[in-house]
């Protein structure tokens, strides 16, 4: 095991976060704050509580989850795509490192950043709408597992993409709509019957619900199914990445 290599990659990626702190921390924090102001305070004050939870509080877990997904994907896809783009990937490919070590370094750093960001946003949210977390350890587990899963997903996207436009395609065309339709701003029980069934095919619904359950103990689907879904998605991402490394897909010629 080349521990020094894992550490070097991890450290370099974390360093990149501090270097780009405006984009990687402040932007998502400001975006989320706007959601709290508009949906939580302005609109939320006119909304009825959902399952006994005040609307401003109701949207907190979903908003954190939203940033966790987006940033996890962004960090990891960017982290591995940049070296491909500027050619520095030659160094990683010529180093005595195994695919697993590369993965642990890049995805570990991306997930760490996502978790740090998630916790910061949680703090910001708390400043707007004080809340109480019912199951803090389950909450942390969801935070970490989701950050890891979507960092893996982002890593795969970063290898697949051969340009910056492609890097954006999946996050904006697929992940973003699924997130908005994933029950961040409403309970899927509020949807008409047909759309409620459609919503159950959206993996994000399970993430948001599992996470919300850890906060308030309310959910549209049981938390165990949520966790199983996230775990399943993580395994799919791992399998895809394993295949990419084995075949040298878009990494080596």
């Amino acid at each position: 095991m080349n521990v020094y290599a894992i550490r070097a990659i991890y450290r370099q990626e974390m360093y990149r976060m501090w270097r780009t702190v405006l984009g990687s921390i402040f932007t998502p924090v400001i975006t989320t704050s706007l959601y709290f102001v508009v949906f939580g305070a302005a609109i939320g004050s006119r909304m009825q509580p959902i399952d006994g939870v005040h609307y401003a509080n109701f949207i907190v877990p979903g908003l954190i989850m939203m940033q966790l997904l987006t940033q996890g994907i962004f960090n990891a896809s960017f982290g591995i795509h940049m070296p491909k783009f500027n050619g520095t990937i030659y160094e990683v490919l010529s180093a005595p490192v195994s695919p697993i070590e590369i993965l642990v370094g890049y995805v570990g750093a991306a997930a760490t950043k996502a978790v740090i960001l998630g916790l910061i946003i949680m703090g910001v949210a708390w400043a707007f709408v004080p809340f109480h977390i019912l199951h803090p350890f389950v909450m942390l587990a969801f935070l970490v597992v989701t950050a890891l899963t979507f960092s893996l997903f982002g890593f795969a996207i970063g290898i697949w993409a051969d340009g910056f436009d492609k890097l954006q395609v999946i996050p904006t065309m697929i992940v973003m709509p699924l997130t908005f339709l994933g029950g961040t701003f409403y309970s899927i029980n509020m949807l008409p019957g047909f759309w409620r069934t459609v919503a159950l095919f959206n993996p994000i619904v399970y993430l948001v619900n599992g996470f919300r359950w850890s906060f308030y103990g309310i959910a549209d689907v049981t938390p165990l199914i949520s966790l199983a879904f996230t775990g399943g998605f993580m395994l799919i991402c791992l399998a895809v990445i394993y295949w990419m490394f084995r075949t040298g897909y878009k990494l080596k010629v």
Partner: protein, 310 residues
């Protein structure tokens, strides 16, 4: 003979579009030598280096580094190799010191600030260590790439066009450093377009063209085997035509009858020139100036590449 540190046999690389970049390359690199790999653009130099270093997957053949297979035993082989790529592939936002430290870690070596300091000082980069790479000149960026390649103390160093875009003084420093590395026992394989550099530096020269090794030769032997000498005489009085008596020599009358140019291949004896000069005296052909020229590696190279595949 010294034992080979790298032995390449039957190496093949075909790209997806059917292009065969390497067609069964066999090559041995000896421990501790400076080996210059020459060839025109697109000959397969970079592909060959890429396979040894692990950035390119071969489609056939085998590469052994000190007896170990570069694919099966990649950890052992790659740890000993440093690669300086042809392109200035480096993250401009990184700082010099941290990017060099990163390379050392990536290659599995424990931190060693003393070594990194030494490498940076050797490359005259120490006072730039806290600069962002993008603020450096092209020549300095290339030195940062060399520093990165040396950060893990490799005993085999690949330099792909190391002096492209580097000014004369810097180039001289760089060769000085490469000499020092060789003295310390590092094996160096380089490609270059500046053939006079290969001529200066290399112990052996390999020429690759269209994916095939055309020749591998000790540089001295190559120069004397394929080298030519040329003698030009500026005549005191122009000649109308080449005198009959000189027809036996390989000679041309140039410059409107003002210059006689004789070609000797290196196999011919030195006595030939003396005989020639005596003959000119007998013929009453006077000359006011003379100069001789030996063919450089560049001429040899051009001849080899132009010649129909032998």
């Amino acid at each position: 003979m010294t034992q080979p540190i790298i032995s390449i046999s039957g190496l093949e690389k075909a790209y997806g579009n059917g292009f065969r970049a390497l067609k069964g390359v066999d090559l041995e690199i000896r421990k501790g030598e400076i080996f210059a790999l020459l060839g025109p653009n697109g000959a397969g130099k970079t592909t060959l280096i890429g396979i040894v270093c692990g950035t390119v997957t071969p489609t056939g053949g085998q590469v052994l580094v000190d007896g170990k297979d570069v694919i099966r035993d990649y950890r052992a082989t790659r740890g000993r190799i440093g690669l300086v790529p042809q392109e200035l592939s480096i993250d401009g936002f990184e700082r010099v010191y941290s990017t060099v430290r990163f390379s050392r870690g990536l290659f599995g070596k424990p931190p060693n600030p003393d070594h990194i300091e030494k490498v940076l000082k050797d490359l005259a980069l120490w006072d730039k260590k806290d600069n962002q790479v993008r603020m450096l000149s092209g020549g300095m960026k290339r030195r940062v790439l060399i520093a990165k390649a040396l950060a893990h103390e490799p005993d085999i160093l690949f330099l792909d066009e190391p002096t492209a875009g580097v000014d004369v003084e810097l180039r001289r420093d760089m060769w000085e450093m490469i000499r020092r590395l060789r003295e310390a026992g590092t094996t160096i394989i380089l490609t270059t377009h500046y053939l006079e550099e290969a001529e200066d530096m290399a112990d052996r020269v390999g020429v690759i063209n269209k994916g095939e090794i055309v020749l591998v030769e000790d540089k001295q032997a190559l120069m004397s085997k394929l080298g030519r000498r040329q003698l030009s005489l500026q005549l005191a009085k122009p000649l109308d035509a080449l005198p009959e008596a000189l027809k036996g020599w390989s000679v041309d009358l140039n410059g409107g009858g003002n210059e006689l140019v004789f070609n000797f291949d290196s196999a011919s004896e030195h006595a030939d020139i003396a005989a020639l000069l005596r003959r000119l005296g007998e013929l009453g052909i006077d000359f006011k100036d003379l100069h001789t020229r030996e063919s450089s590696l560049e001429d040899i190279f051009v001849d080899l590449i132009r010649a129909p595949a032998a």
